[in-house]
Subunit: 331 residues, 2 copies
C-alpha cells in the first residue's frame, strides 16, 4: 500500500522526506525504486522508525501496517510523540471508540499533548460511510441499511492475507471465530462509523464469519504461495448491528483471493425506509486503488484538523483535490 500511495502523493506535489519498512527486500533501496517508479527520488527506505522520524521533519506519516489499534499502538505513539500527524489505513482506527476505547483515549491524549492528529481512512471512509450516509441523508426514515462488498485479498499486503487465515485449514478459522479470537475490524468498525454518521447508537451486534474454501489450487500473489484446494481462500464477514433507536445496519463483506478472470470488486448498498428504499451501486470501483487516492485526498483534512484522535465523523467529507495538496492546508 505504501508503494501504491507513494506516486499518488508525489503527483499531488507532496515532498516525501522519509520511508520506513520492515521487509529486507525493501530496506536500503530508494523509495522510487521500491514503489516501481521509473526514477529514484532520493529517499532511502529505512527500518528504524525512531531514527527516520528524528532525522526528517515530517508533517504527516501515512501508516499502513496492520489492522488493529492494539497492533499499531506503538507505531502511532512514536509518530505522534515526534510531532508527526498520522493518517492510517489501519481499519479499526476508522472508528475505534467502541472496540478499543482505552487505547484510543490514550492515543487521543498523546496526539493532543503533541498538537497533532491521528485519523483512519481508506475505501470505507467514502464508499461504505460517506456515500451510504449521504443516501440516508436523503431519507425521512431509515429502517435498515444493508451493504455488500467484495474485494481481492491479493490487492493488499501479506499481513492482511495472514489475518484472513488465507492458506490455513477452514477448521482453524472456524475455531478462532468460535473462541472469539478472530476479529476483523473492516466490517465491524465500518458499521460503527456508519451508525455514528446516521446519528444512531449501537445496541447489539451479531457477527457471522464463514470461510471460503479453495476448490482448486490457487496462486496468491501477496503470499507468494499457492493456496491448496481445501484451504481457506477467503472469508465472508457479516455483521449486523441493531441500534437503540431501532434501525439495523448490516454489511456482508467477502474478502478472498480472486481466482476467476471475471472477479471484480463490488459495492452495493440498500437503504430501506421512507419515502422509498434507495439502492446505491458502484461499478468499476477498486478497493485498493481508491484506498490510495482517498488517503491522498484526506491529507489536508488531517493537517487541518484539531489535535487528537480525530475520526471521520469529525472531518468534512472527502473532496477532490485538483491542485497540489499544500493548496488545501491551512498552515
Amino acid at each position: 500500500m505504501g508503494a501504491l500511495i507513494t506516486p499518488m502523493l508525489l503527483h499531488k506535489g507532496v515532498e516525501i522526506v522519509g520511508a520506513i519498512a520492515r521487509s529486507p527486500t525493501k530496506v536500503g533501496r530508494d523509495l522510487g525504486d521500491v514503489a516501481g517508479l521509473d526514477r529514484e527520488i532520493g529517499v532511502i527506505v529505512e527500518d528504524d522508525p525512531a531514527a527516520v522520524l528524528a532525522s526528517c521533519s515530517a508533517d504527516i506519516a501515512i501508516v499502513s501496517v496492520g489492522s488493529l489499534v492494539g497492533a499499531m499502538y506503538e507505531h502511532f505513539r512514536r509518530c505522534l510523540e515526534h510531532g508527526v500527524n498520522v493518517l492510517t489505513i489501519e481499519e479499526e482506527s476508522l472508528y475505534p471508540w467502541l472496540t478499543s476505547p482505552a487505547q484510543s483515549a490514550e492515543l487521543d491524549e498523546i496526539a493532543k499533548l503533541n498538537g497533532v492528529t491521528l485519523t483512519g481512512s481508506g475505501i470505507q471512509d467514502v464508499y461504505w460511510v460517506q456515500l451510504v450516509s449521504g443516501v440516508a441523508g436523503s431519507m425521512l426514515e431509515v429502517e435498515s441499511v444493508e451493504g455488500r462488498a467484495q474485494w481481492n485479498i491479493d490487492d493488499f499486503g501479506p499481513e492482511v492475507a495472514q489475518e484472513f487465515y488465507i492458506g490455513r485449514m477452514p477448521e482453524e478459522l472456524e475455531q478462532a471465530v468460535e473462541n472469539d479470537s478472530w476479529y476483523s475490524p473492516t466490517v465491524m468498525n465500518t458499521l460503527h462509523a456508519l451508525v455514528a454518521a446516521l446519528g444512531l447508537t449501537v445496541e447489539t451486534s451479531d457477527v457471522r464469519v464463514t470461510p471460503i474454501v479453495a476448490t482448486a489450487d490457487v496462486r496468491s500473489a501477496t503470499l507468494a504461495a499457492t493456496v491448496p484446494a481445501g484451504r481457506v481462500l477467503g472469508l465472508v464477514d457479516e455483521v449486523r448491528l441493531v441500534t437503540r433507536e431501532g434501525p439495523s445496519v448490516e454489511f456482508q463483506m467477502s474478502g478472498r483471493v480472486y481466482d476467476q478472470p471475471t472477479d471484480v470488486d463490488t459495492n452495493d448498498w440498500l437503504v430501506r425506509g421512507a419515502p422509498a428504499p434507495v439502492r446505491l451501486e458502484n461499478v468499476g470501483y477498486s478497493t485498493r486503488a481508491l484506498t490510495g487516492s482517498i488517503i491522498t485526498n484526506r491529507v489536508p483534512d488531517v493537517l487541518n484538523a484539531q489535535p487528537g484522535f480525530v475520526t471521520i465523523d469529525k472531518l468534512p467529507p472527502s473532496r477532490y483535490r485538483p491542485l497540489p495538496l499544500a493548496h488545501y492546508v491551512r498552515w
Copy 2:
C-alpha cells in the same frame, strides 16, 4: 410539493404555523385537508403572504413556487424582511452565483441585514452534487463527470409543466431555445454547484435542448389535461461545462410526462479519471419524494447557518435526522 412536505415536517416534530398558496382550490381550507392528511391541523391556507408572515412568528419558510431567482425574488425578499429563514426547492438557488449574480448578492445582503438564511436544496443537493462529488472525492484525478437522470413532470406542480412547454408545439420550444429565451436551471445550476464542489471553475458551457414529442395522446395529471400526439411531452436538457482546470462536467436530464407503466426515475453518473472510472447508480430513487425528505433534513442546517444567501457548498452534507428536527438546531 408543499402538500408532500407538510406531513414530512409534521412527522419530524415541526410545528407548522402558517400556509400560503395562490390556487383558489387550496385557499381557505385547512392545510391538513389540502395535504391529504386524515386530520385538520388548525392552519388555514391563506393567499396573502405579508399577512401570514406578519401574524405568525415563523423560524423558516419552505418555499416551492417557481424555478428561477428572478421569479422568486419578491417571495424570498418578503420572507427575509420578516426575519424568516427560507429553504426553497427553486432550482436556480442551488447555486445562483453565475446565472443571477446581482439578484443573488441583493438577497444575500437582505438576508444578512435581517439575520436569516436563504438556501436552495432538493434532489440535486444529495443525488447530483453530494454523492457525485463524494465519488470524485475518492479519486486522484477527475477527467470528466457524466450524469444521466430521468424524472416525471407529473410528479411536480403545473408551473414546472408550463416551464417545460408540456402540451405545446415542439417548434415553440425549439424557437425559444434558439432565441435564448428558454432556460432551465435544473441542469445548469446543478452543474455549477457540482463544479464548485469539485473545487473547479467554469470556463465554457454548451446547452442542447431537445423536445420529446408525444407519439399518442397522453394524460398529464399535473396539467389536468391531455397532451395530444405531436405536442411536447417533455424534453432532454443537456449541459456540458468545461472547467478552466481541464475536467469537463456534463449532465443529460430527461424530464417528461411518463406514459409507460415501466417508466421509473433513474440516476446514473460516471466519474472518469485516475485511478479508475467509477460509476454511481441509484435504483429505486424517486425525484419528487426524496426532494421532500431532503428539504426536511436540511431544515436544521439552514437554521444553523450563518445569515445570508448560503448555498450548499457552505453547508455540511445532508444527514439523516432520526430525532425531531428541533434536536439538531443550535437555538
